[in-house]
Subunit: 313 residues, 2 copies
């Protein structure tokens, strides 16, 4: 009998999230381990192995009964050869053949996918985008990533770096982004830029607590700089939604990642900004919604992608 | 023996362009007729019929020997049902079942495609994008349209209005576009906006000659307002190329339409603007080129699309 288990591993700069799921994407077992990037690639790969084996243990499943393993990792990466070429979030990783390494140690087949694409694929497979063949997702985290499903397929583009939605230019000659461009969405709507801007404008009462929730609390208490920063974030996301509407014409745009944990506090002003910025010429209006799978989206999507590549999902 | 002839008709606001092509997209006969939109849909459909029959006559081919007819028309349109829903360029056209009308009068099968998508498909089929499976095209004409080929397929999106690339927002709170949005690419890079801006800034010596070539001549003679307008146009196109790079990750971006007739005068500054605005993080740099099929692109692409839909191209 065909096994019904597949493992998803989401390799983040801080944590590894491992999820054992069934063929319907339901989580059967989960474990998180620290990535400990500072100890280098060999150590991180050993952590990935431990996370995989721990999760099987929690689920009471033998590794040999797992169909395979999907890995989500920060890019740029070479999906075809399963290699992480280089990553801002994984310092010292240059051309690491991650798929080969994990296939050797886990003795299971492994696939590799960009983490934001994986989150989008997870939402498309079993989350807020289930059944929607044209959707885009923003992952508003430390940075801003994205994923696109177009005509039912993940969009990668010629170079495989498609859906880097954080680097849509929303403000001409705007704020400098970590990527070197000016006016990127990421320079307004990422956790790191929101926090940096909050520090620049003296929003945070306690120096040690410069978080997005702290900024939102300050905005709620009437801090005008905090309100301006949040409005700039939501306006930037709304403008990027307009641009995606006209380029991709999706039915659905999802907001995920840490910033989207603010729920209605981010969703409503983004919808308002979008509605005020977009045309009224055609009824091609995407729905804007929050993502549903939380921080399991990447691991679930990686598992789903493994099944998709094997022709099972 | 299977016929080797297919007709492409490009229904523009001013002219109808008809091209008889072979299965390789080579033009065998051509004719242009005035659209005469002011006489209403029935007259225009009769002009389309005349253009089709004239072109067959020029090519010495009987209409019954033509496999079928592809029509390119301004949107929004309903491709599936072959209906033009409404168009800025075709006043008075509301829900006209163009495909049915032409199939009845020409007694050939007919397909319908958005005109900018048709131009992009034509370039992909036999023009500057031949063999390129991930490309985007800007049609810089009276308005700015666009087309996208992603993974070898035209991108339509959920509502069928995809690749409206003229309405990518390039300037926050920028110039008002005819569509009601602010800061659209079209508000900087369309012929109508370039001319309007030129008139506003007093660029044109002769009131009757407010054309793009006249503005370029003024810029060349040292007119600073004319130079600023042109720079704003090319910078806007360059910024839109950056955004498309990160969303679609194409190998190639083509510039077509009347503004692109300026050749190197538009291509070089767009390339320079793109290079100065984009990131240097990854080597996912699209080539920016001029389109190759000139004002036959839409008709050729419509013919190619007919063959594609019939599984022949």
């Amino acid at each position: 009998m065909q096994s019904e288990y597949v493992l998803g591993l989401d390799l983040g700069g801080t944590n590894i999230k491992a999820r054992l799921v069934d063929l319907h994407g339901t989580i059967l077992a989960a474990s998180d381990l620290p990535t400990q990037v500072e100890h280098g690639p060999d150590h991180v790969i050993s952590q990935l192995n431990s996370a995989a084996r721990d999760t099987c243990g929690v689920g009471g499943v033998l590794m040999e009964d797992v169909i395979g393993v999907g890995v989500a990792a920060p890019g740029p990466l070479d999906m075809t050869h399963g290699v992480i070429e280089k990553s801002v979030n994984l310092p010292g990783w240059i051309d690491i053949p991650l798929v080969e390494r994990l296939e050797t140690s886990l003795e299971r087949p492994v696939t590799l996918l960009n983490d934001a694409n994986a989150a989008c694929y997870g939402e498309h497979w079993v989350g807020a985008g289930k059944g929607v063949d044209d959707l885009a997702m923003f992952t508003l985290g430390t940075g801003v990533g994205g994923g696109i499903v177009s005509g039912g397929r993940l969009l990668f583009g010629h170079f495989g770096q498609g859906a880097e939605l954080g680097h849509i230019i929303v403000v001409q000659d705007g704020r400098l982004c970590g990527c070197g461009q000016r006016g990127c969405l990421e320079a307004y709507a990422s956790e790191s830029h929101i926090k940096q801007r909050g520090r620049e404008l003296g929003v945070f009462a306690e120096a040690g607590n410069s978080s997005v929730p702290a900024l939102l609390a300050a905005a709620k208490s009437g801090s005008e700089p905090a309100q301006r920063i949040w409005e700039a974030c939501c306006t930037a996301v709304g403008a990027a939604c307009v641009t995606l509407q006209h380029v991709l014409n999706p039915r659905l745009i999802l907001l995920g990642g840490g910033v989207a944990a603010a729920g209605a506090t981010v969703l409503e002003p983004v919808r308002t900004a979008y509605a005020s910025l977009t045309w009224k010429m055609a009824r091609d209006v995407p729905t804007i919604e929050l993502a549903a799978l939380g921080n399991s989206a990447g691991a679930i999507g990686a598992a789903g992608w493994f099944l998709h590549q094997r022709g099972t999902a």
